[in-house]
Amino acid sequence: MKAAERREAEKVPDDGSKAESRKAARQLARAVFESELALRVEAAVATDQPFVERLVRFWSNHFTVSKQQSNIAHLIGAFEREAIRPHVAGRFEDLLLAVVRHPAMLMYLDNHQSVGPASKVGIECEVGMNENLAREILELHTLGVNGGYTQADIIALAQMLTGWGVLLRPAPTAGEARPDDTAYRFAGARHQPGPQRLLGRDFDAKDARQAEDALRFVARQPATARFVCGKLARHFVADTPSAKLVDALSAVFVESGGDLRRVVAALLAHPESWASPPSKLRTPEEWLIAVGRALGPAFNNTQSGRFEGPGAAWVYAQDWIGQPAFNAPSPAGWPDTQEAWSSPEQLLRRISMAEQIGRRATRYITDVNAWLAGVLGAAAPAVLTEAVAGAPNAAVAIALVFSSPTFLRR
């Protein structure tokens, strides 16, 4: 028998249905991901509080969860809405706890599979602990890589976090999705019993409370203040912020017990935040949002119409300019310095996109000079207004504005 005939003869009738339901689940996850993204973009483009949106994005990147791990794609929008957004002007420790408890983070960094060796499940089954989440909390989220912790601290935190997991229910039948189909749950049977020592301090609370205490403790460390404030300063002020600025912010962080509203107020009040000319290069995503804000409601019509469903065009646009949405390559998130975003190909793609958008936007922008004055006002340097005045047509003029250093930087 030939292979093809054999395949036909041996086909199990029910083989297709499994693949079908997998496909349906993938399509649903994609639809959820794209509509979440559309909402996020609409909020950023339309908001009258753009600084809050920038804070949300900063913290989303600090606490990266990425669609590279495809089984959490549909949870990422929820992660930002539920764990990040409510806390950007709150206390850092509350933010940290909300993040670590979220199913998207628990699954992204594998903690939902982590089992304490001396727990009930650990003794009965041959499964073990996963240190991933604990390691990244200390290295990337709080103390920073040089924050003075050891491998023993990582293991202690990982043991305290055992049992922090996700309640996974069987897939719902069509039209019956429940909001808590994927939800945080603490499983005592997986939790490593006994006290743990972290950064020289003993934690002896029971169950989930133990890691909660530890996380609050880590969140208040001076090393955490320095690491987090250094990242804030790098993101909002300069690739290499001054030690003076980082010191000032860290002092406020420590003194206020990690009150992010006060830290951000100190950041905004600092003269270095207003240094001119601005030195930060916008990431592709930031640039696209800035373009959207500059075009207003006309923006949607400047995006290619060949994509179906909300968010699909945005997914394509971000992919194309080199920063795919919610898709950072590692838990460290997207880089935050200009070296990472100024490769020739990336610049060329932004310029190319600016040109395409410029062509489509001429239907909506009738007076380019008035539009430019409205968008950049006094920030438009003479060299740009001259270039715009010398442009052969409105499309080139608009593309020049979006590709100009004034617009590429912030």
Partner: protein
Amino acid sequence: MTTRRQLLQGLAAVGLLGQHGLSFAASPQLGERRLIVVLLRGGMDGLAAVPPYGDPDYLRARGEIAFDASEGGDSPYSPLNDTFGLHSALAPWLPLYSAGELAIVHAAGLPLIGRSHFDAQDLLECGANTPKGAHSGWLNRALGSAPCSATAIGAAIPLLLQGPQAVTALDPIGEAPASEELLERLAGLYAADPTLLHALQGADEARGMGLPEGEARKLKAKGVDRARFIATGSLLAKAEGPRVAVIEVGGWDTHAGQGVRKGRLARQLSALADATLGLREAMGPVWSQTVVVMATEFGRMVKGNGTGGTDHGTAGAAFVLGGPVKGGRVLADWPGLSASRLADGRDLALTTDLRALFKGLLHEHLAIDRKALDQQIFPDSAAIKPLTGLLRA
């Protein structure tokens, strides 16, 4: 009026450019050598690309997707030796194999539990012992020991090439159309911004070194992968071009319709073989100094699934091509396909860690020492010995 190119060349001459320009000098230890890493994303089926037809358990273990030469008609593979064959779609590689320019490493992979694309690709690129064990790529860290200009082919820089060393991203088949008119005006606007000017100059260089637009369009019509490989070859062939490049090729996740002699996998392999020959030709004499290594995040299950495809597995095959390669060989500590030898009772077992392959190439081709390989480039990996003897002395 000064043209954009004149302006940029003038600035290059006064040394303002360079950060993202391609033309910074390679360290002398490299000589004229080039390294190209091709990431085959999705999990290429090594058991189909390089079928172990001589393994007594092969036909039974692989089942309906096995390559059975006794079925008559054109054979789905060409024998390379008594054990291994080469998929008929890779037949364009046979002359390279005979000429000693192609070596195959089989039963190779990464020590990973879980078979997730994400974890496996992360592991393949970060070079650590566990997924996410390092936040930069091993190839970037290797540049710390062998400084030279390196580029990703495309818009984004994959994790493999991310890290502390300055690298760039170029698309030599110019997928980003931007008019000369606009670019010329921008050169003036960027005059006071060295970073942006560097990038614009780099783009200009890449356009100059890549293929003319009309040629690129014609090539792309015959297949994007081939066009990208050819353009990469001509980019690296230039004396002032990059020395290290990373190309990504997707489409290997053949869960359904994988096929045997024909089908999805055969199309993928055939495109890859064509692309490689195009690259070889485009590199000209530099091919004699070039090593191309192609690896994937995992192999696929020995037995086919219910939808004419294969699910995620463990070990698979990797390819090493180039002038310096001591090829015409399949290197494998072959574990066999008898039921007791399969990993988890289902996969080709892993006997060569891909890091051993990468270490061997970095050591022999880029003259990177063991200490850097064992500690920085592949952290805590002293136990994994470099696979040496891959290249001609």
